[in-house]
Amino acid sequence: MDLTLKVWRQENRKAKGRFETYSLKNISPDSSFLEMLDVLNEQLVNGNNEPVVFDHDCREGICGTCSLFINGRAHGPDEDITTCQLHMRKFKDGDTIVIEPWRAGGFPVIKDLMVDRSAFDQILQAGGFISVNTGSARDGNNILIPKHKADESMDAAACIGCGACVATCKNSSAMLFLASKVSHLALLPQGRPEAVRRAKAMVAKMDELGFGSCTNTGACEVECPKGISVAHIARLNREFLIANLKP
């Protein structure tokens, strides 16, 4: 298939970016979106031009690095997938595809389509952990956990920190990411001892790093590649309110 790409190019964090238009010919509909970009970059390098910088690592939908806003949607037109799982058969011959980086103050552009998501790491460092004494491993069934709680916790733990929720949200809110991290620990007995401190510290960090405030539009859960539900945001709100009620 033949395509026209409108790609965001930006030298560095400070530079003013712009769109560049490229034509690609003979792309296989069976190739993945990132393979299509590989072809583009080969073409650019062969013509002695700078290749387009974009993030990717595992290319199997588990690491969350591939972060592209494609034709107006995070991770492109397919449901519940990351960009690396998107295939060119989702597009038509002759299509124009607009490719932009995640756009949020909390995720500054490093170069072209690559953004700095270390804000998520900082939020995690603020409280997305449990403290345990090291030593020999405990028996796995030491602490019994009801199946429905374990399942819900696992659903939340599926978050891969890709940032599509922030990118999609009209408020650039990181609430779905934060909610999945808080929920996954809050549901387990191991997470309870630090629940109050965790909710307060992680929310404070999120606010400090310049993410917006949730208005419950629900766009995040639709674009989340892991289908994380906004029910986890309700739990985060609950955890945060209770944490603030306690002296």
Binding site: F69, K170, S213, T215, T217, E223, I233, A234
Partner: protein, 228 residues
């Protein structure tokens, strides 16, 4: 406490509580106004309105209501401005339609329209009853009960475009409410996957009842005056 109210969730908490308070107020307001429909002589509505205007509980709730509105509007502005500010460079192309409702994305615009309507509405009735007075209010009132019924119906009968403004006002309010109802519970943490469905349905029932009810009153008054 201060750090709670300064946090993003704390501010939303105030939006939610003030919003739920306004939601409750709307229901009471509708019940009172619906008396216009049940007694064409106006005596029933006038008596209930008089009761509401003089009852000590309502006198206390009135300033609380004003504070509720002010808090809601204040925090709506703070949150909306911050949310705009945290995305310095916007998207060239964004498809929002498939992931969220139009109303949920335009709560501030809808709220601002509600505010404009509110100013018109208050100057039409509340302001006259409380402060400036009107000869219509003194017309046929018995035992110090103002003839609010005459004030309301005269306006709705004489100016058809006022009826249109009121119907548009209720549609805008209704759109705000379609998102607001569930959202308020979600903000308080009172929702999960099961309750969400119930709350969304309850929100629609409430919205249709309240917006439909408020729209019906001017239309009813105007149309019944044309038939008689």
């Amino acid at each position: 406490m201060a750090s709670f109210l300064n946090s993003s969730i704390g501010k939303k908490f105030l939006m939610s509580l003030s919003g739920l308070f306004l939601i409750t107020f709307l229901l009471v307001h509708l019940v009172v106004n619906s008396m216009i429909l049940f007694d064409p002589s106006g005596a029933l509505f006038n008596n209930v309105a008089h009761f509401m205007g003089t009852n000590p509980i309502i006198r206390v709730v009135e300033p609380v209501l004003a504070i509720g509105f002010i808090l809601h509007i204040l925090y709506a502005c703070i949150l909306t401005l911050k949310n705009q500010w945290v995305r310095p460079v916007g998207y060239d192309k964004q498809h929002s339609g498939n992931s969220s409702t139009w109303a949920s994305r335009n709560m501030f615009v809808l709220g601002a329209l509600i505010l404009i309507f509110l100013v018109i509405h208050i100057s039409n009735f509340f302001w006259k009853i409380k402060f400036t007075g009107s000869e219509l209010l003194d017309n046929g009132g018995v035992n110090g009960v103002e003839n609010v019924y005459l004030l309301v119906t005269t306006l709705f009968i004489n100016w058809w475009w006022i009826d249109i403004v009121y119907v548009i006002g209720t549609v805008v309010l209704g759109l705000h409410l379609t998102h607001a109802f569930w959202s308020a519970f979600q903000t308080l943490g009172l929702s999960d996957n099961r309750w969400r469905k119930r709350l969304v349905i309850a929100g629609w029932v409430y919205t249709i009842l309240v917006a439909g009810g408020f729209a019906l009153i001017p239309l009813w008054v105007k149309i019944s005056s044309m038939i008689n």
